[in-house]
Amino acid sequence: MDQIAKLVSGRLKAQSAGPHPGPDLLAAFVENALQNEEREKLIEHVGACSDCRQILYLALPESAEAQRILALKPNRRPALALRWGALAASLTILVVVFTARYQSRGPVMQKAISAPAQIAAERAPAEMDQMRALPAERRNEAPVKTRALPQAKPMTAKPQANLNFDDSDQVRVSALPLPTLDQNKGQKKDLPVRSLPLNGRNVTALNDLTASEAKPASPPQPVGGRDKEQNSIGTTSSVVGQLAKESPVGGNLGGIVSDPSGAVVANAKVTLIGPVGAQTVTSDPEGKFAFGRLPPGSYAIEAEASGFKPAEMKQVAVLDNRTSALHLTLDVGPASETVEVSAAAPVRNELATKAATVPESSTGLAGGQAQAEAKLSRKKAEAANSRQREVGIGSGGGVSTTLLWTLSPEGAVQHSGDSGRTWQVVSVATGATFRALSAVGANIWVGGRVGAVYRSTDSGQTWVKVVPAAGGKNLDQDIVRVDFSDPLSGTINTANGQVWATSDGGQTWLRK
């Protein structure tokens, strides 16, 4: 026994794996972001170091509940496949010949029906559901009249036609000088980037470089206090509805300003700061305000009224063709204190949660840490509240439930509102199967074969097909992983090792 222990010890010592890589390198490895040489070195180490393997596997995003990759059926032997293939081909030819003869004799119902079915497959599930709800006889009326063979055109409809992304806006958003908020005074100021010293040289001013290219096609037009007649609206959702109707280009943002008792605050000054600068409107007598045709991006919003503490909400996401609804609550108090409201998810007709946070000044390590910890607990509580509201849909009676998401072994999207006891299939697109899923609040992303990516921003009620494109190329590989850390930022991994990243909710993509 001693001899064996000696042998084992000697062999283990001989297998020294060298210095351990840092978390930086391991994280980059998992995300396929290392250059070949570095990757080789790292994998050499990880192959011999059980601790690093352990860390690597522990650090992988959760797979069992949130992200399940489907198992493929085992490969059949080529000869067998050929045999079955020949049989299938023969059957197909027979069916085609029979169908062609049948079609030449009489009206064609089945094929004519299949054309709209193909179109429906490319559309949002809401439209599909409406189509399914139509009585069968009504659906069959039109095709019965025709004797022509089904046209190939609907079959070749490009899925890109349904995309709602406006690529041109993205360049403008990123290139425009970002206004910042002076935290002490709450005043807007331009970027302090007039020159970038690079290796001792001065770089051309950012504003000068991008001003001509970055001008938006149509300037954002705030709707609200400036034109109160057009905004005779009753609720936050009606603000949203009107914005959605009036502003087909860009995103919209609107809401209500109220005090803690729920009474609306009229004449509150609401300032929106974002990629195109600052805009200010005044809330109408019903406390409503709205901004329309906003370029997609991250915005900050401030509200102030006499007798109330100013409120501030940061990281408000505005997405293309989406409307974000906010509820700003002003606390009563002196204007010197600022009430910060947490960021709202870009979900239509959902109100953002709020939490009061008085900004602290940094007073040394101990004080700063205590303040940070105190802030943590507040943030956590507000995030939890926010998430519950986001997913608390469909349960009725105001009961909030947490939706769990998964993929079935067949690739269907499923959710559960009872902690996984029962699962319901969520209709995303006809015939589509998925291999990867990522859920952040109400934002759900799924990916499947041949670059099929769908996104829902309302907890799976409606889905939009997304076609990630970068450098003139579309994502057309099988997707093995989708990972979003927040509603805007995430990555998609393909089976051939590509990584596609977005930081604006899928409107622009970067291929790595």
Binding site: A5, Q15, A17, H20, G22, P23, L26, A27, A28, F29, V30, N32, L34, E38, E40, I43, E44, V46, G47, A48, C49, S50, R53, Q54, I55, L56, Y57, L58, A59, L60, S63, I69, L72, L178, Q183, L191, P192, L196, L198, R201, V203, T204, L206, T210, K314, Q315, E340, P359, E360, S362, G368, K375, L376, K379, K380, A383, V480, D483, S485, G497
Partner: protein
Amino acid sequence: MSATSQRGVEPTVETALETAMTDLYAKSRAAEFGLGSAQFVAILEDIAAKHAPAAEPYSRLHVEDLVLARACAAGNEHAWEVFLLRFREKLYDVARQITREDSAGRELADSVYADLFGTRIREGDRISKLTSYSGRGSLDGWLRTVLAQEYVNTYRKQRRLVSLDEEEEDGAQFAAASNDSPMPADSRLEKAVDEALRSVSAEDRFVLASYFLDGRTLVQIARALSVHESTISRKVEKLTKVVRKQILKSLARQGMSRRQAEEALAADVRDLTVDIRATLAQDSLQPPFSEERAKAGEGGS
């Protein structure tokens, strides 16, 4: 290329580089977090000098995450607010996922948060672990790895206090390095296995170690390597055949006949498995990611 033409090209390259840097600065939201352009450029140049081996060093960096991390490390209040909004809940969720227990997860996340905030002071400055983030992977992935690393470190420190039964109950979580496995009777077989494992690529050894030694599933290995699980399934099958073939060849080189070699392999299949495990294993009692190294990493960045 002549000197004249070089002079003609240089300004274009410089302009392109400067434009790219300006774009990156705008994209990174550095100004929002109080990082000046000079600081931003210095951070990127520092990272490029340390980590980026190829041309276009900045194009692959997660500059937005990088700027957020550095701004937090510098104590910017707004940066911390953004960081907490984005990662606070996630930090606890991942910690719970790693520890598989609520209280342990909370403890782990708190411990890592303290490191991120920085509890040590060097020359009057608070040292935050976030300074060691270089932006090559996402900040989200980096945080996951830091949590996992802290968990493994804590486990290894307490390892001698954990009973063997408990360790076994953990299953694959800490199934590595079983040192008490019997060695093959014939040293030629041992040598042959070593040679066979050396003949396969590093990635293949990683797959073998993960599959045979750690007991990882095909799905886990596939996700670690960003490939589909069917690829790993085929690879494991193929590697097993290749290793077996190499062992037979090696035994033949050592003087065994084909039949003897086959018998040596067939005598006890468990020996071969054990041998693979032992060969792939390393001395995990050696303290990984020691405090000194962590300190050096933080200080160096």
